[in-house]
Amino acid sequence: MDSKKGLFDEHKSLHKLQHYLPAQAALKDFVHHNTLHAFQHLTFFEGINKASQTFGFQVTLSLDEYRSMYQSKRILEDILEKSITDKKGESAINAWKEILLHKNYETQITSRVGQLRANWKDQYGINLDKITSPFLFRFLASYLDQGIAIRNFPIPNKSFLSAVREIEQNSIVSFFKTPRAKKLLLDEKQTLENLLHLVVGDETYFEQYLFDQQFAHPGLSGFIGVVEIQPETLLDRRIISLHDFIFFELLLEIDALDEKFGETWKPLALNLSEIPAKLFDTIHETELFEVLTIWQNAFEWSYYDDVLCGIKSIKQVDKQLPKSFQAAFCIDDREYSLRRYVENIDPKSETFGTPGFFGVEFYFQPENGKFLTKACPAPVTPKFLIKEGNRKKGIKTDVHYNKRAHAPIQGWLISQTLGFSSAFKLFFNIFKPSVTPATALSFQHMDKHSQLTIENENETFDGLQVGFTIEEMALRVGNTLKSIGLVKDFSPIVYLVGHGASSVNNTHYAGYDCGACCGRPGAVNARVFSFMANHKKVREILNSEGIAIPEATQFIGSMHDTTRDEIEFYDEDLLSANNATLHLENVKKFLHALDLNAKERSRRFETIDTKMSLKKVHERVKRRSVSLFEPRPELNHATNAMCIVGRGSLTKGIFLDRRPFMNSYDYRVDQEGKYLLNILNAAAPVCGGINLEYYFSRVDTEKLGAGTKLPHNVIGLYAVSNGVDGDLRPGLPAQMIEVHDPIRLLFIIEHLPEVVLKTIQTNKSTYEWFINEWVHLVVKNPEDNNLYLFKEGKFINYQPLKSELPVVSNIETYIETYQENIPVLLTN
């Protein structure tokens, strides 16, 4: 063969491929991340432009959408002019405004990926994907299946290729229709490179061919890539690699080609009519993309400017003493509105925000559970295990999910008996929805009355230490308290409020739970932290470090269900008599706040009239969470736009809808930025990841999002696809993102700019988020009260264009009339 040798490095190419493929784990481990993480080494606009031209993604809103937002004044004129000035200079304003508003462009998106492989169709007249993918998808789904099929894959414990070989040798039915592919499979010395020589022919194109081939079904390939690196995402593990998968796919292609042309066809690269564009060649910025960039910036700053105006215009006042109670919530944007209501109902209370695993990282094993679940952010690998015991409530079952209904004889009996009961079930589920065994209920994750093994007694399990030692506890409690600035003035009760979500008929349920707990409800962490902070010996150590927690102060774990707006408290029986009385009062306040929170959320729900009585609205909100026919039990992180790191007083009195992530932080406790670094190391990828996943799923619902969820079909319990023949669909379903405004996250940090600069530069991967502008960063300097915008490595003074915000006195009635995003307001 006359191909050039040594141009193809299999290992490197596969690694690269894996990096670019979607990286979504199984449904049960749904964790948000930047969909285009592979482009994060470039600046935001460079990166998304490259992604768009390479893979054909839509990466911003459409020109029409921006223009119509300008018409409806959601993009403001002065901001647009500023956005033009930033990019084109002040003199260009008029000319560019004309372009932005009126010039016509060809908006069709083209992609480089797929161009090489398109030659099969153009030059050979064969549609390879149409021949290979139905079987390929079905077979892989069966191999990876976690429990839908009744008959499992016959060779469960072997790696993919060896299993395929074994079946081929031990079956009358072959994978292939022609002899050559079969021979190649059974020859164990065969390499991927050899197969590529047969199919592609010219090494120059091997890598490009692999990209073309795998991006014909990015969902499946991406998932296999994930299983290769994190096999634990499948409880019933499988040994598979992209290499094995591609090897198999190439064989199917050879088989299809042999069947059509005999064994004499010429490799693809030797038959090209024109040289296809190189996948990763330089990208040119088009004028259209410049236009979109200016629009996107104007869109983002039209909102940010209001927020910054608010922050600049209020005076920060510290809370009065004594505080009635304190509560730490998750950083999650869904907790912000609840915190707002709690502090409004009881102005003497104080709330905090921190990632919802509360700084305690461990695996959790529910009683009778055969596996461990991670209860901390996904990148962390804990060394500890918390076990549940003495569970009171068992797991309920439902015969309607019984697989025996699919067998002929039992099915015959079942359909004549259970069939009729399912008619009733369906009837009641539609007219009077209630909790069923199929509901993903947040409070079920851990039984309220169960016991947890939290203190280590030299027990280990599977290489993990069961529970924490006193020192380990003190370290974690101290770190968390210091990071949120709660080191003095403790109230009698401090609540730790984790969160989870409840829904039914929702394949993406894990994405609704706490992201800081790896897509699980955060109840266990709240309980574990409280136990630690209540521990006498832990308090002694903390005392020696300067955190004096009064003896009367008690920590109580609890969990907020963000879908149902309900709360559950744990270990209330440990409260002292005095605190128990206080607790009863506090519970009432929480419940009232939850009612109000439900009402605020309900304004987005078509089926609920927000003006009904509080109780009724709340009832309806709860009903959504158990209704089979409700594709939007809650709206999750939709509309998230900011991450605020500072004291509560920084935003007190500003109404920010439900759009900020809030991490409490007191710069006075952390002059050097040590805790700030920890906060940002977590918040940038977690909140930034959530934000960007929403962003990309929203701007390209079809290729980067999962599309509408209505036709989704569950594949093997680990993913969804459309219908039975489709590729897997990673990303977020349209129902989760449709109300989201795709803008990047704005970090607002309260500290001295020089400290912040030094802090973010400490960790390279965290710094990448800021310097490449995948998130924005503004610092409020508590000394001069000015705002500083981080741009190209420096902080520059930012003066909001807007000088005042509307003031609203009664927010409760104000929201009733709004279904869209509520503008930034001042309350009082």
Binding site: Q146, V173, I395, A438, V714, L717
Partner: protein
């Protein structure tokens, strides 16, 4: 009591028409129409059935208007109500009602909200016609509506490739079933010399008397009915279409392919049971068919790793058992089984997204690690693996269908190249004119020659349709070929027997109107798109030209002889002019009708449906 039956048809029809008129932003108005129409039907239906039961459940037969009549032929609409209709009616109304309520929330903000409720009401209308029909002609009207509404619901996500491709696939199988019905109707007519009602079929003596001298005719009719039933109810070898139909929103999959639509084949068997009750060979064939479907579909269901595929195959297996029950004469059991299976599968599909939560939890608490098989004897291992592979490959069902029915058609592609636009214009049109002259104006031939000529012309018409089916580039040629084929059929029949001018008018009216209309749309479209339209791929122009798409769809349906123009009637009349012994001609004509439908729907799909490079990604109607 009889007259109330009409309400069950008129109400859905009224709802369907109303729902077409509502603007698509008015979600609640749309769903309210469906809610009250179907809900009203359900309540009235329950009342009727109670009343009917109290009155000793008599069998009702209402002969409605005669649509067309001549001395030897009477096309009349007829309705019928007995316990089979009662069960199908109640189950249908109940499930449609539940799914209506379910969908009004579930589809909220979906861009096809209106389309969904339109199609659903249309489907419900067709379902009720089918199950309340009193003769084959009436049944066939409903049957065709079910087919077309199925196509529309499967291709609900019309901007994606797979739904559209699968919709065409399913429609093709349905048309193969239609072939059975058309031929059965043809033969029935000659057997009874009238459009026989189902009521008459229950009269044993009468049936026996008619069949006594023509036992092979009876077997032929029964087998044609069986083909129709098997295609519609996903029995072997057609089973593989059922999972592929699960492309629409989950509730529509649930009601169509989980329950109602897929049990219509069983209904047809129940309805015609008295006719083939005494043909033991047919009953044995049905039992064998049902049994093999039950076994093979179950084997395939066992290895399905997608939840909807699993429910689909499991449902097909149960319907196989229902077929057995019907063939063995256990009518009541079959009805109970139908209702139970319909409820169960609807429910299983509606809750199918919940399996993730439920089964993952079950796995979490009950998982047992796999043990490697103890050294098994190699033969049993081999069998096990082979069975597994065979089931994963769905027993090659797709391939079998392809090679039996579609392969031969595609094989003719190159042979038909002589049918070019030029030949059509300069050869076949003159031929037609000559033929027209000899058949209508001045017939010179003897009767024998004329019958042979009829067959030959029929064959030419078939070739034209085959060419149209295989044509991938020139859609105008395809369109003209289909019109020409209709003209040639008309010619053939006229040679065959005397075909009255009015009958020609009846038959050709729809063809001409729709043919011209459709051609005009194609012409306009070509101009609007700068000649960049073809049907070598999916062009997805529906978003850009929604009005053209609608008018063109109607033209296609009209040209294909769907019950919206007199052509539908004409097609039926035509078959009465083909004699009982003219198998070949009947076969040609039936095939032409069937292939026309497939070809036209495919032309529509390729021009208007599928991914369009611009609209595919943005879909602003969902978000604005």
């Amino acid at each position: 009591m009889e007259n109330i039956l009409h309400i069950f048809l008129l109400l859905p029809l009224l709802g369907f028409v109303l729902s077409l008129l509502v603007p698509k932003e008015k979600e609640s108005l749309l769903s309210n129409i469906a809610f009250y129409v179907v809900g009203g039907n359900l309540i009235l239906g329950i009342a009727l059935v109670i009343f009917w039961l109290i009155n000793g459940h008599p069998t009702l037969n209402i002969t409605d208007i005669s649509i067309y009549q001549n001395p030897h032929y009477n096309f009349f609409i007829d309705f019928y109500f007995d316990k089979i209709s009662a069960v199908y009616f109640l189950v249908g109304a109940f499930l449609t009602f539940l799914v209506t309520v379910y969908s009004r929330y579930y589809l909220h903000r979906e861009s096809g909200y209106k389309r969904f409720f339109n199609t659903m009401l249309f489907f419900y209308f067709g379902y009720n016609i089918t199950i309340l029909s009193g003769n084959f002609e009436t049944l066939f009207i409903g049957w065709e509506i079910l087919g077309i509404s199925s196509f529309l619901l499967i291709s609900f996500y019309r901007e994606r490739y797979l739904p559209v491709r699968n919709a065409i696939k399913v429609f093709t199988i349905y048309r193969i079933g239609d072939l059975g019905i058309i031929l059965a109707m043809w033969m029935m007519h000659h057997l009874w010399h009238e459009n026989v009602t189902f009521l008459k079929l229950t009269n044993y003596e009468l049936v026996h008397e008619h069949l006594a001298s023509h036992s092979w005719v009876g077997v032929f009719i029964s087998l044609m009915i069986l083909i129709a039933a098997a295609a519609k109810s996903a029995q072997l070898p057609f089973t593989a279409w059922l999972p592929r139909a699960m492309e629409g929103p989950t509730p529509s999959s649930a009601i169509f392919y989980g329950s109602l639509s897929v049990h219509i084949g069983a209904f047809l068997l129940l309805r015609t049971f008295p006719f083939w009750e005494h043909q033991h060979s047919v009953r044995i064939i049905i039992v064998i068919l049902g049994l093999s479907t039950a076994i093979i579909a179950s084997l395939i269901a066992r290895v399905q790793s997608s939840i909807k595929g699993q429910v689909a195959y499991a449902s097909a297996a149960q319907i196989g058992i229902i077929f057995i029950e019907i063939a063995l004469g256990f009518e009541k059991l079959a009805l109970i089984h139908f209702a139970g299976n319909a409820f169960l599968r609807t429910y299983q599909l509606l809750v199918s997204p919940s399996v993730v939560t439920y089964l993952i939890r079950e796995q979490f608490y009950n998982f047992k690690p796999h043990t490697d098989d103890v050294v098994e004897n190699s033969l049993s291992k081999k069998l096990k693996n082979s069975l597994y592979m065979l089931s994963i490959k769905e027993w090659y069902l797709d391939k079998i269908i392809f090679s039996i029915f579609l392969g031969p058609l595609k094989g003719l592609r190159t042979q038909l190249n002589f049918l070019t636009l030029k030949n059509l214009l300069y050869f076949f049109i003159p031929v037609y004119l000559v033929g027209f002259y000899f058949s209508y104006i001045n017939p010179p031939f003897s009767e024998t020659v004329k019958t042979y000529l009829a067959t030959a012309i029929g064959f030419t018409a078939l070739l034209m349709v085959l060419k149209a089916y295989n044509e991938r580039k020139n859609y105008r040629l395809a369109w003209l070929l289909i019109i020409m084929a209709h003209l040639f059929i008309d010619l053939a029949i006229n040679f065959n027997e005397h075909f009255e001018g009015f009958e020609t008018f009846l038959y050709m009216s729809g063809v001409i109107v729709c043919g011209v209309l459709g051609y005009y749309i194609l012409y306009r479209l070509r101009a609007a798109e700068n000649k960049n339209v073809g049907f070598d791929q999916f062009y997805g122009l529906v978003h850009k030209h929604p009005k053209f798409a609608l008018i063109f769809l109607i033209s296609c349906l009209g040209l294909a002889g769907f019950p919206i123009t007199p052509t539908f009637l004409g097609e039926d009349v035509i078959l009465t002019h083909v004699e009982q012994n003219q198998f070949l001609l009947a076969f040609f004509i039936a095939n032409i009708f069937v292939l026309n439908g497939i070809t036209l729907i495919r032309i529509y799909a390729r021009i208007f449906l599928g991914p369009h490079p611009k609209t595919f990604q943005t879909k602003s109607d969902l978000t604005s």
